[in-house]
Symmetry: C3
Subunit: 167 residues, 3 copies
């Protein structure tokens, strides 16, 4: 794992997000803020950690994650964006479907579209080294757009002199 710190553009405003939650509504907030900021010229860095790592998994669907039995137990419950629950009203898994339906019906981008938009807008994706170790994940488990695996100190360095949100 490398800890290279990417070159920063000092003329750009900066928004950094620690994406901790794996909930559908919170991930929607992460990517809405990220794409909204990138669209008006911000440098945007997302540091995916814990449940948030789920958003950048390569294969959607209930893929096994990591090595060993226990990471797999978690993996069943971390099945990528298609199965992300809503933080509040998750009646039998209905709510994310309602959200998707409402977003589609009202011409608002869905979560998958927001992730694609973030990639297109050059939002920087980073994966949290410690959470990857705990959950038995490798860089190859993630979308190719994921730029690097970082520890806390490198992420703090990256997010200096900007706004940082924990979601």
């Amino acid at each position: 794992m490398t800890h290279a710190i990417p070159q920063l553009d000092p003329t750009k405003k900066k928004l950094s997000i620690i994406a901790f939650s794996g909930d559908f509504d919170k991930l929607t907030a992460v990517f809405t803020l990220a794409t909204g900021a990138a669209a008006v010229g911000y440098e945007v860095n997302i540091f995916f950690t814990f449940w948030g790592l789920d958003a950048i998994k390569r294969k959607l669907g209930r893929s096994p994650v990591g090595k060993g039995f226990l990471p797999k137990v978690f993996g069943v419950f971390m099945g990528g964006l298609k199965s992300a629950p809503v933080s509040r009203l998750n009646f039998l898994g209905l709510s994310p479907k309602i959200f998707r339906y409402l977003m589609r019906k009202n011409n608002v981008a869905t979560l998958e579209e927001l992730v694609d938009a973030a990639v297109a807008l050059d939002v920087n994706f980073y994966a949290c080294e410690m959470a990857m170790v705990v959950l038995g994940l490798q860089k190859t488990d993630f979308l190719p757009h994921v730029k690097d695996v970082l520890g806390v100190a490198s992420f703090l360095k990256l997010s200096e002199d900007g706004q940082t949100l924990f979601i």
Copy 2:
């Protein structure tokens, strides 16, 4: 919907809060921070989004919200401050009552009082345009104190050069 950016006072310190949660305890945190900051002279901006929009609904109680069937399904569960659940220990809806009782007994402002105080202290309330579209809400559904409906870019502009919290 307008996107006018209010005039900023560059001499003031600034606290901006993205109020995403509709939980009683988290909304209490939002308004405690907002009123505490406003009381010592900060410019305070709250951007209500998703479940947080519940805190600024005009009619308290389980009012139907938005248009169409699905927004109504959500509306039943987003019934304004009186029915906001606690994020953690919500035994049969008991916890918010216990909190209210403890706050009252210990002379701490309750959530409704904190909202009133925020209005009196000129805390700026903004509603998130995208979440309103998804949930089928109009500006007229909100408290008259709500200053404007904003998109992400306008909120970022507003919150520049200050602290921003996601709650």
Copy 3:
């Protein structure tokens, strides 16, 4: 209760965290960020409030807290770090055990070790005055490392000119 504001070192970068959650995974995030930042020279301030106060209780285990019946009801559910639940997958209390096991197995510091490390690295712990009043807690209920009891205004003053996260 005092509101003395500690002396700040203007040459240090600063990370402030409002630790609101009592969930095992979120507290792990709080202390991972705090120790990571302190290790690279940041001044780190943690403002424990609501459920987060649980992390700095003197006695671990299901100790009664505060005075009176209702604070005790909450106290049963706020039993210190050993019983902190995970925010998402908390099957019968299994998840924190799995996390601890995975952290141990992969040589990642456990939550208790991270708290010890934060103390050793001179991370500043503060307790939120209002939440203590609501929950019936005294400064003597907390770890001796807790530096002070603060209101919102004092915490905002402390966290000025740095990054602030709400977790």
